[in-house]
């Protein structure tokens, strides 16, 4: 799946120590594995299991998901801008598919 399936919204620059809000949205069915298709066959589970955020090479935030998270999982959270660097967002689903979005955060002196 292409990068277009995931979107992240956050400021690209911030003052030192400023806390910025991050919003991340992924297009994903989050299929529970409990439903049946039109023929009465179980629909196989297909969910994003893990979402991770790396800031300047270090993991600073992560989420473990279950079927209890709605389809097209959306997350809003905060990051403290301490240094200029790349912020990488990684979604991993239970079929081994990995989607990555990278943003740059510039800390203005």
């Amino acid at each position: 799946m292409a990068l277009a399936n995931a979107r992240v919204s956050m400021p690209d620059r911030a003052a030192p120590g400023e806390v910025v809000e991050v919003k991340a949205l992924m297009r994903h069915p989050m299929e529970t594995g409990y439903r049946l298709d039109a023929m009465g066959r179980p629909i196989e589970r297909h969910i994003v299991e893990r979402f991770r955020v790396r800031y300047d090479g270090r993991e600073v935030f992560s989420i473990d998901l279950t079927q209890g998270v709605a389809a097209n999982p959306f997350f809003a959270f905060f990051l403290k801008a301490t240094r200029t660097g790349k912020v990488t967002f990684i979604w991993e689903d239970d079929r081994g598919e990995v989607t990555t979005v990278t943003k740059s955060l510039t800390v203005t002196e």
């Binding site: 409990y34 992560s62 473990d64 209890g68 709605a70 905060f78 990051l79």
Partner: protein, 149 residues
Amino acid sequence: MSTRRQAMTRLLAGACLGFAPAIVLATPAMRDQAIAELTGGRPVGNGKVTLTIPAIAENGLSVYTTVAVDSPMTETNYVRAIHLLSEENPIARLASFRLGPDAGIAQVSTNIRLAASQQVTALAELSDGSFWQDSKPVVVTLAACIDGG
């Protein structure tokens, strides 16, 4: 709430899964067990955590939920994890957020699924090893899993 209504809710929720009786919805006891596993049996205080969720959710497939924890989020005093738990969904644990001082503010939001009207619980683990929680009742008009996922 009467046990008969609870039984009926569970029956309807089970029916909406359109599935064999193998699928069992969580119970408050299962949620409590999930909390005990997360805390290692340590006591859980009330306070510090604010769970914001609609009192009436028209669509259980997507319920906007925010958890905020009262914490300075410094290197020595921060929130380690926030867990969202359900007492009626097939799985008690909805999502676990792991954070630290780099988050700056201990607040997370997401959309959760709710299979029936129930109490939703937010459990926070602090850097000093203490646990805090908040619970809110949610009336679900259209339960998750009736159709459309």
